[in-house]
Amino acid sequence: MKKRQLLGGLILLIFASTLAIVAAPSDHPRGRYHIKATMIIEDRELSIELKTYLGDRDGIIIQRTNTTTIKRQEVRINYTIIILGLDMYARRPGNSFWAYVSLAIDNKTEIFRERIPTVSGELIGPDGSSEPMRVCYENGRIKLQKAIRVNTRIAFYVFLLVIVIWAIVALNPLIIALAIPVLAILLVNIPAEDALSVFWDPAIALIFGAFIIAYAMDKSGLAKRIAYIVVSRTKSPTRLIFSISLISFILAMWMSSLATMIVMLPIISTILKVFNADQRSRYAQGITLSIMLAAILGGMTTIVGNPANALAASITYRLRGIRIEFLEWMLYSVPVALLILLIIDLVICLRFNIERDLKEGLIRFDEKVIFTFRAHLMGMGPLTKQEKITLVVFLGTVMGWFTSSILALMGYVYYLHVAAVALAAGLVLMATGIFTIEDMRKMRWDILLVLGGSLSLVVLMDESGIMDVFLVELIGVGYFQILVMVIILLVILSIILGPLAGVAVALPLMILSFEPTKAIIIYASILSCSMVFGPQGIVLEEYARGRGFLTYKNYVRLGAIYTVISLATIIPLIFLFA
C-alpha cells in the first residue's frame, strides 16, 4: 500500500470516526414511549397518542380514536383520527416503532384511499424528548415508523468504514461485500437471516441466469457471429462506428458490459488489423471508445443489463411493494440510451475522423476490406448445434421476460417471474451441455457476491436506523431539494463505489423520503449505471487499453464529454417525471 493511500485512509478514518461520534444519534433506552399523530383539520390540530413501551418483546395491537365535529350552518362533519399500534415493541436491531393512522369522515375512511392527508408523527421518549417519525403510505394507509435504534452508532461507523476501505484502501470489492454482512451481524447484531438472505435475492438469481446465457452466447460463438454479420454489411468506416456500437449496445442489453467488451474487442482488433491501423490512429481509438460506451449504455436499458438495475428493481419491490416490469424498464430507458449513443457516436465521428488518419497514413481503407469480414463470417461456417441451442434459449428467455412483463401489466403479477425465466434458461443450457460445470467455475461470482453485499448494506442501513436518521432529516425539506441532494449522493457514490453501491444507498433514501414514480427510479438507476469514471468504467477502460488501441488521455477526454451528455440528458428527465 502506498504512503498516499495510508495517509488518505487515515484522514478519512478520522473524519468518519468524528462523524460517527458527533452525528450518529444515541440508542433508544427501554421505557415508556408515546407515539403521537397530528393532523390539521381546518385550523385545529387534531392529535392522538398511543401509549407504548420499549421492552423485551412485541406486544398486542391496541387502537385509540379521537373525534372532533366541525359544524357550519346545517352541515356537520365528524372527523375521527384513529391510531393503531402495539402496546409494546421489542428492543432489537431491525425492529421499529410503527403505528397506522387513519382519518374517518363521518365514520367512513374510504375517502382517503387515494388521497392521503398530511400527518405528522412524533415519538416521545421516556425523558419527554420528541423525535419526528417517518410518514409512509402503504396502500392508502398512513404508517408512522421509526427504527428502534440499537447499536446505531456502531452501524453508522461500519457504513462509513466500508466507504473508506472501498474508496481508499481499494481492497477487492469481494472482501468488502462479504465484510458488510459479517460486521452487520457481529457488531450491530442485525439478524443473520436478514443480512444473509439477500445474497439469494431474486435480483441476484436473475443476474445469475443472465450470466449463464451471456456466457453461452460468448462460448458458442453466437455473439461473435452476430457482430460479424453486421460488420460485413457495412460499407464505410463512419457507418462502421454506428453499426459496431449498435451491436455492442444490443449485446450489452442481455450481457454484462464487460462480457460485451470481451466479445467485441477481438472483433475490433480484427477490423483494425484489416485496416492496417497504427497505434496512433484516432479512428482506432474512436471505434474502441464507441463500443465501450455503447456497452455501458446498452447495460442501462434492461433489468439484466447491469446488476444495479436488478438491484434498483429489487429495492423498489422491497421498500414499496411495486414491481418494475422488464418491458417498462425498456420503454423508459431504451429511447434515452439510444439518443445518448447517437450523440456520442456523432461526437466520435467528428473528433476521431478517419480522413485525417487516411491523410497521415495511419490507417488504410478500401471497399475490399469488407470482403475480409465476409471471409471471417464464411470461415465460421453454418450455425453450429451449440449456437442454435443458445439462440433458441436466448430468444425464448427474452420472450419469457417480455411475457412476464405483459402478464404483470395485465394484473398477473405472480406469474412467470423474470428471475425464474432466467434460471430456467440456465437449466436448459446446462442440460444441453452448452454450459458446463467447468464454465460455472469461470463465472463472475464476485459480481453476484458484490450485488449481495450491496443489498446487505441496504439491510444494515435500514434496520440499524441510519436510513431513518437521513429520512427524518429530510422531513420538511422540499421535494426538489431532496431530489437534488439524493442525485448528488447517487452520482458521487456511483463514482466512488460503482453503480451497485450508489443504487444501494441512494435509492432507498429516495423511495422512503418521497414517493418517486417508476420513471424516476428507472432514470436514477440508469444515471448511476451511466457513470464511466466509476469502477465499472475503469475496468472496461483497463481491458480496452490492454488491447492496445486506447490511450488514457482520450478515455478521460471522451469520458468527460460522455458524462456531460448523459447527465444533461438523464437528469432533466428525472425532474420531468418528478
Binding site: 495517509l7 462523524l19 352541515v75 392527508p117 466507504i163 481499494a170 441532494m485
Partner: protein, 363 residues
C-alpha cells in the same frame, strides 16, 4: 145421469172456488194496485228507481171502490228481501187518501226488490205492491294539487264521496302517476269513515321521477254499492335545495398538500351522493369529482406558491338546486421551520473528500 153428475161436479168446484176466495184477505190484481171488497190501495208510481244511499218516497192512495178517498188510515210499507217482508215505514193517509213513506237513505244493496203497502180499514184489509230498483250510487273523488321538492316525501289527501256529498268509507283508492304515457301505480289506500284516504308519495322511492309536473290519477274501481270514479291531479316536483360545507385537512403550505373536503346534504339533512363537485382556485377550475355515498368528496391540492387563495366549490346535481360555497385559504411559504439536513450534508462532504483523497491516493 151423466148430465147430473157433470152438473154436480161443476157445482162442487164452484163452491170450492167460492170458499177459497172467501178465505183470502187480499186480492192482488196487478202491481201497485190492491182491491178488497170496497177498498182500493195503489202506489202512485208503477215502479220506483233510486240509488244506494239516496232518499226514497213511496206514495200510495187509499180509496173506496167508488173512488172516495179514505183518510186517517195507517198504511204500512214493506220491502221483500229473500221472500222475507221487512217493515220499512208507515204513514196515515191524508184527506185525499194519499200517504207516503219517506226513507232518508236507502241502505239496501243495489238490485230489484218488491215493495208492499198494506192498510186496514173497518176490519177490511188491503195490500198493494210495486217494484223498487236500487242502483249503485255515483261517486266523486276530491283532491288537490301537490308540490314537492325532489327526494322529499309528501302526502296527498283524497276524499271519496257520493254525488250527494256523503262520504264513502272502506273504498280502495289507487293512485297512479302518468309517466311517459303510461299509468304507473304508485300507492293504494282505503278510505276511512269520513271517506278520506292519505297517500304518501316519496320521489326518492321512484328514481325515475325527476323535476317536472306529472299527472296524478286517483281511481276508485267501484264496488257492489258504488259506481267507479276517478279524478286527476297534478304533482309538481321542484328542485331540492342543497347545503354545502367545505373544510380542509392538512396544512396549507407550499410543498405540502391540503385536502379540501366537501360535504353535501339536502334540505332534509340527508347526504347527497354522486353530486358533481367543481373546485375553482382563484377562478381556475382545478378539480372535478363526485361525492361518495356519504355525500363527501375530497380533493388534494398541493399549493405551489404562498399567498391568499379564494377557493370556490360548486355543486351540481340533476333535480337539485345548484349550490356553492367559497372560502379563503392562506397558503404559507415553504416552511422556514425545517433545519438543514446536517448529517446528510456532512456525509455528502465526507464522500466528496473521499473522492478527492481517492484521486490523490491512486495517482
Amino acid at each position: 145421469m151423466v148430465i147430473h153428475i157433470v152438473t154436480r161436479g161443476l157445482l162442487i168446484v164452484l163452491v170450492l172456488i167460492t170458499e177459497i176466495a172467501a178465505c183470502l184477505p187480499v186480492h192482488h190484481i196487478n202491481s201497485g194496485y190492491g182491491r178488497t171488497g170496497t177498498l182500493v190501495l195503489y202506489f202512485l208510481d208503477k215502479e220506483y228507481r233510486t240509488n244506494y244511499t239516496d232518499p226514497l218516497t213511496l206514495e200510495v192512495n187509499l180509496t173506496f171502490a167508488n173512488g172516495t178517498p179514505i183518510p186517517n188510515v195507517y198504511v204500512k210499507f214493506y220491502i221483500i228481501i229473500d221472500s222475507e217482508k221487512s217493515f220499512i215505514g208507515g204513514n196515515y193517509t191524508e184527506e185525499n187518501g194519499y200517504a207516503e213513506c219517506r226513507i232518508q237513505q236507502i241502505q239496501y244493496a243495489p238490485g230489484e226488490y218488491d215493495i208492499n203497502a198494506t192498510a186496514e180499514y173497518s176490519g177490511e184489509y188491503v195490500e198493494a205492491s210495486t217494484h223498487l230498483y236500487i242502483n249503485r250510487e255515483d261517486t266523486l273523488i276530491e283532491t288537490s294539487r301537490l308540490q314537492v321538492q325532489y327526494t322529499d316525501n309528501t302526502t296527498l289527501e283524497a276524499r271519496l264521496h257520493t254525488d250527494d256529498g256523503d262520504p264513502v268509507p272502506g273504498a280502495i283508492l289507487k293512485l297512479y302517476l302518468v309517466y311517459g304515457g303510461e299509468m304507473i301505480g304508485i300507492a293504494e289506500n282505503t278510505t276511512g269513515f269520513d271517506g278520506r284516504a292519505i297517500f304518501t308519495i316519496s320521489t326518492k322511492r321512484f328514481d325515475w321521477i325527476s323535476v317536472g309536473t306529472y299527472d296524478l290519477i286517483i281511481v276508485f274501481n267501484g264496488s257492489k254499492f258504488y259506481n267507479p270514479s276517478s279524478t286527476k291531479s297534478l304533482l309538481n316536483v321542484t328542485r331540492e335545495k342543497l347545503s354545502v360545507m367545505v373544510s380542509t385537512v392538512g396544512k396549507a403550505v407550499v410543498g405540502g398538500s391540503v385536502i379540501i373536503v366537501v360535504k353535501v346534504i339536502d334540505d332534509d339533512g340527508e347526504p347527497v351522493p354522486f353530486a358533481e363537485i367543481r373546485i375553482f382556485i382563484d377562478g381556475d377550475l382545478v378539480g372535478i369529482g363526485r361525492t361518495d355515498s356519504d355525500g363527501v368528496y375530497g380533493f388534494s391540492w398541493s399549493p405551489e406558491n404562498p399567498g391568499r387563495y379564494e377557493i370556490l366549490v360548486k355543486v351540481h346535481k340533476d333535480n337539485y338546486e345548484d349550490a356553492e360555497s367559497n372560502f379563503i385559504l392562506d397558503v404559507e411559504g415553504p416552511s422556514g421551520g425545517y433545519q438543514l439536513p446536517m448529517v446528510f450534508i456532512v456525509v455528502l462532504v465526507f464522500l466528496i473528500v473521499a473522492i478527492l483523497i481517492a484521486i490523490f491516493a491512486r495517482r
